[in-house]
Symmetry: D3
Subunit: 329 residues, 6 copies
């Protein structure tokens, strides 16, 4: 009997069920016959499929491509085999899902915590910002953008590239920062850390498209990068506050200090990783290092989830990674 959940498909099985289309490429056989390379997915599981010409069901290429479009929900049937150690499937039948037939959220990868609880926790961190102007700016920018912020990815390809990845990444940094602040006492300024970390990647809601299925860099993102974008958001907020009330030089200074922390959260300029100013405070250095920790944990966890215990693999951007086995692992 056929497997009906894509997460359970293994070579040798027949599959009949729903899946999300992630990527489609039209190809030609050496004889010139058109066929499709399609990647279908459920959550983090991706399966490469072939749809041969004789499986087009009499449709021409244009019709087929209008069905197999990026982000479409389809019901397909196919036989799973193995190719280069990966599952591969030849599609024998397909149809579009009917409205209401499937729950989209069961197919999209999301942060492992609920949007609601994360939102509550981030707000609690914002409430701990004791420098009024930083509190006001952070709070207002969060509230004005949180419809996008809470659902956005944190990356096109690298770490946290899933629904609500941006919020989850932001919250993870705040949690690490809380512990560092608790541990080191007055050496670290908690208000500046919480404000900077809440905002540090907020520019990504403009740097990358909002489509969480397959996010891409926007033109504006490529012109300025997410650091300059969020600094612009902060500056506009500062201008607005100034139009409402007198802002002291001290307050302006601390807002610029906040922008410096954000400007330098990709490390020193000499890295060439996109910081827009040198870090010149402890908080700026910390913001970069904490960001690194969460990014690396996410990248390595993602990279090792499908590895076998005891295996070593080369991972892009990390070098070789070993997945432990034995003892308590």
């Amino acid at each position: 009997m056929a497997v009906t959940c894509l997460l359970e498909v293994v070579p040798g099985e027949t599959f009949e069920g729903f899946c999300l289309v992630k990527e489609v490429k039209q190809e030609k056989t050496k004889k010139g016959d058109p066929y499709l390379n399609v990647t279908v997915a459920k959550k983090h599981k991706m399966v490469a499929c072939k749809l041969w010409n004789n499986g087009f069901g009499g449709k021409d290429v244009e019709e087929i491509l209008s069905i197999f479009s990026n982000g479409a929900m389809l019901h397909i049937a196919g036989d799973a085999s193995e190719y280069n150690g990966q599952v591969q499937m030849t599609i024998s039948a397909f149809r579009q899902a009917v409205q209401g037939e499937v729950e989209m959220s069961e197919f999209i990868e999301s942060a492992p915590e609920s949007v609601e609880s994360m939102e509550v926790e981030i707000r609690a961190f914002i409430d701990e910002i004791k420098i009024p102007i930083l509190h006001q700016i952070t709070s207002e920018l969060f509230e004005e953008n949180n419809k996008y912020f809470m659902y956005h990815v944190a990356a096109v390809k690298m770490h946290h590239n899933f629904r609500s990845g941006l919020a989850f990444h932001t919250l993870s940094l705040l949690r690490i920062a809380k512990n560092i602040c608790d541990q080191y006492g007055e050496a670290v300024n908690r208000s500046k850390m919480y404000a900077a970390l809440t905002l540090h990647d907020m520019g990504k809601i403009i740097e990358m498209t909002k489509d969480t299925a397959a996010p891409e860099y926007t033109l504006f993102g490529q012109f300025l990068g997410h650091i300059q974008i969020v600094n612009q958001m902060i500056d506009r907020k500062l201008v607005f506050i100034r139009s409402q009330r007198t802002v002291s030089l001290e307050e302006v200074t601390v807002v610029y200090e906040l922008m410096n922390i954000i400007s330098s959260h990709h490390g020193p300029l000499s890295n060439g990783w996109g910081s827009t100013a040198e870090p010149i405070t402890l908080e700026a250095h910390l913001c970069h290092m904490i960001d690194n920790i969460d990014a690396k944990i996410n990248m390595i966890s993602k990279a090792t989830v499908d590895m076998k215990e005891g295996e070593v693999q080369k991972i892009w951007g990390l070098g070789k990674i070993y997945k432990a086995k034995g003892l308590d692992k």
Copy 2:
């Protein structure tokens, strides 16, 4: 008879005349007696002086330091000798200049062209910007800031670190750009080049202090750098225009493109030289390369002005530089 113009002082001469104090350091002899190392200047000529304790004229150190303050205009007498190939002077008498006794402008190094003619020429370039929103932004930012812009230095230490150095450097780039645009025709967008070059270093009026005698980096300059500062000025201008009239997506895009050209005018991020985004247009690449040309010409001219013909010297940031001699040089 004593020399009266600092520009003419050579070892062996006695000097009696006016000079500007550029730098003062209080020192102690091995015996513990206080004395001053003072650098005095007229235009580009700097002379290192000693004011020994026995030359204090009965004043205590605090009084002396209130006279020999950074930027003060003094009348001094002294004997010039040579030390390590440089003129050095021991001050034997001094007094503060009386109001109106000397013309400050004869002592400060300035751009080799008049502020008035440079201002006219820059405005003419701005008039050539044919994209209306770029013209408006550039023109308004220039007019609103030109009181500072026209007199500001372009650097603390490196190239164009003199009065109106910023305006002169900006104008030099515009002139080079004009010729490049004339030569390459439609390949290069003249309006974007003129807008970007006029504005590219305008953030320096906030990044560095306005005192042209001895400019320093400001705190805001160190938080953001001049690139982010001018991008902020442009963004505020864009927000203002939007509050007055509808701005099309096309127009916003071209303003962000302008910010990209400025963001990347220190070259690719991998240089680590302070660009805040990668250059992604021909105009962005050109802006960086033209900036380089004018900077190098200024640095080498400055470095070689006091070298002898036929000499080779090591210059900071340039390596060895040879000053040609013979033939037409």
Copy 3:
């Protein structure tokens, strides 16, 4: 009806016309049948073609390869389709062009200006060299080599890799240099600039093969590089002049200074880009920077010519490049 000019071929059309063979690779299908991957071209337009075994017309592979040879002019028929966003063609018929049937010059990409006018203009620049020994060396080397110089490519792959690309690139640099010299007056030595720029890449006529259809590095080019080759040409000329008349030390010095400018025109040694000495004069630094400007303008123009407006593409050696749209572009 079939398209007859390769420049107009788009997917879906049938083509019947002439084309130049740029590259040929013999391949085998999985079944072991031989077939050819052929790149044909007209001017800058390249089309990838397949010639299947059943299209060999009974000829064996050797015969086919003798017809589809690099640089051959053929008349072919084929159907154009699309593959990975590129035109691709399956060749159904072919024959060699008859002598005189087509004009080769209509198929080869060339500099956008006539050889004659460029030659006149370069000579005019050489006439402006006012240091006699530099004038003599530059003029004689230009005249002795101009048969090759005026038609040679400037590169195997990168910028100006077309017929007369070397002359066009050289002339472009001279034009930029003229404007710089006009703008900066005595700071820059016009004679040295013109001599150095005229000669700087002349070694390429030996570094690369003269076949402008598909130039390659020569063995001598790989042994020495074009910088050492042209310095050798200059040195031999100097030896010759010395055999005719007395040459003063001043003159020898200025010739060595010329060789230094050329030696360092790929920038400081630390770049690792092939300079053979450090730049130690303003002219040497300028020569490198001006070379860069023309190279980048050519590379970006070439890279964007086939991009759509509003598009961003990754270009080898340049990173991402955006092609502007809207307003005056």
Copy 4:
């Protein structure tokens, strides 16, 4: 009246009290008279002193040097002045402290927590290591070496260069790691983290001399570095355990994995910072990043302790650092 505690000395005051000799250099005046440059200290406060020839009290240089030796406790009298913004003192009288006259611990800078409480807390961490062979190795190495470990410096010059600096640094990392482990759950292996962090710098007890007043690199330290030294300690322990009982392959593997974490705690080899193997587990990457955080916090705290609020200074290894002022700082 004279100040008696070195911590309170400011320019203009006379000092009479005890101090520790940190560094001594014999110099000569231009006339050839010998004198000493002496650095004396109490806790973190260092004061540069001059002992002129006429203050030698009739002793010759050898006698003087035997009194002013590195680490000696002296009672001195002197007048404090200012030199280059630093306190400087001319010594007018001196004598060696009598045994029991002063409490050494009041003069040496130490970790801000008591050795006893730190030792208890580190042991509690070791008890949390749930992989038996890692627990045994870590526990035994800690117990065998803790007489040195608990009092040793963590560096010659950089961060944590004070008494018990090694223990304090180690404990700080364990505390950060605990929070990371709590936050990320099973993604991070707590036992491996605690074992690796406890041991990671233990090799420093051999790499640097035990004299906490002025530690130096030992010859063995320079031959192998602290990473190879501690790996050797672990290996010897493994050999010993094997001589007592059978050790499974699984156990050997986890011990080597531990050595890999330690080997790579200075980051990837390409950094050139002294790692002896590439990090190939999440724990290895984490160990490096956590080490960085504590080091940077310590370095910046140390660098800013004597800066004024609002000031920016260039700090070796960190670039410019700003000390915040105003608001909650």
Copy 5:
């Protein structure tokens, strides 16, 4: 008639003979039929083969894979053609070799000298080590490990990746070192050089698997690298000697100096090439440089063996390499 020795196979010939299986990959045709890509070898000659489904002889994929396993000796028949300038073969028949039918040693690439003579010569070098503790350690480690040492490869892919490559490489370095020592006299310590060179790569017998047909990195190799592994072997030997007799501080020091030479034989840490300590003696610097010479000679010889005279090819890790022709070559 069919060729029977794989070394003689050229395109167009039929082959029938024995060969060693070096690599096997299961693939599928576009139609989904399974087939194998097999690399077979004799000595240094590698031939890529296809075994199509219709050549499986009725066996299923599992059976086929159990025959075509890595390291298997097979008798095959096939037709050789050319593909991309390389010989390629389609296998038409195959069977496993019978025990004793072929001599394995005729199929494996080995060092060009006999194991016996190399062993004698290395022992003679060890006998020249005049520092007793270095002699004892080197000699005992060599004798205890020489069963593996004499047959092991020196690399997975790079230089000396053949049977006894490790011994041959080691011996080559000893020979170069002998001449250097003879030439420079007392400047170089012969005993330290011989001890260090004999041991420098001995850790590879644990870093890489012992299977000389297709060596791979072991897990332990990836945890520590061959430098730390051999230093561990030396340290264990030192511990053992100490358990037998008193070892003076001088002796311990020279053993640690030996470990430093080995630790740094990949050059300075800043290279990022895997040294585990900085070189701090002449012998350490020399060990690295001599290692380089033998490695480069082997790499270039290997790379050029199949090139034609007069040809230039790009070689991984070396750049372009020219194979001389003419004259005495």
Copy 6:
């Protein structure tokens, strides 16, 4: 009684004898009195001296400077003391040496072998060059330049900066090369190695001044570097040979290959160390590596000659260096 040989001077002694002036700097005391810092030398021993104003013997500064000129041979008297661990001397009397009073060769550091024997040995190597055109070029260039070549230094500051250092360095490389050629047989071309090594640094006779007491870079040396200079010498020789007889393409090729070996003897261009072409033969790679070996041996020997056994010192360009003690050292 006074010491009469500078080599034997230690602190506390009085010296009366001859010495060579190596460096002179005019200074002023804080009071403005002139004095001299003079470095005098015998062989490798350098002693820093002071000549105070009261020791001028009534002469004025100009007279004094005409006596204490660079390279002068003087008889001086002085008292030696210690300063910063170095001998320092105050000159109490001085006079110029009379013609014939001292043997200059006893004061200049020279290669440790005689010029005559070195010349014989280099000629013997040249005789082993079996490619006629390489033999002719090498032999003629050696004979034409050997008056300078045999006495020239090999460096201004680094390794082999002594009389005949160039010849000694060249010969050392030839000796290493001979052994490498003997060991590796046909893999290395002996003729090319000998020709390239004999000539590789010959350009230094023009790059640096001929004064072996205090060599400096010449202007021509800075314009071209010694590599381009010797390649020019080779090219002129080739041109000359061509004027005498027909030279085959094969012969020209091998001469250019020789120039490639020399061009690349500072390693790959990416090093930025001054190679003028990439190494593309084994001989080119070897030439660089052998050059390195002799340079490092010389630098480390020179650096350690005055160190105490057991000491570690930081050496410019080498990092820390340890001088072994104990056992056989």
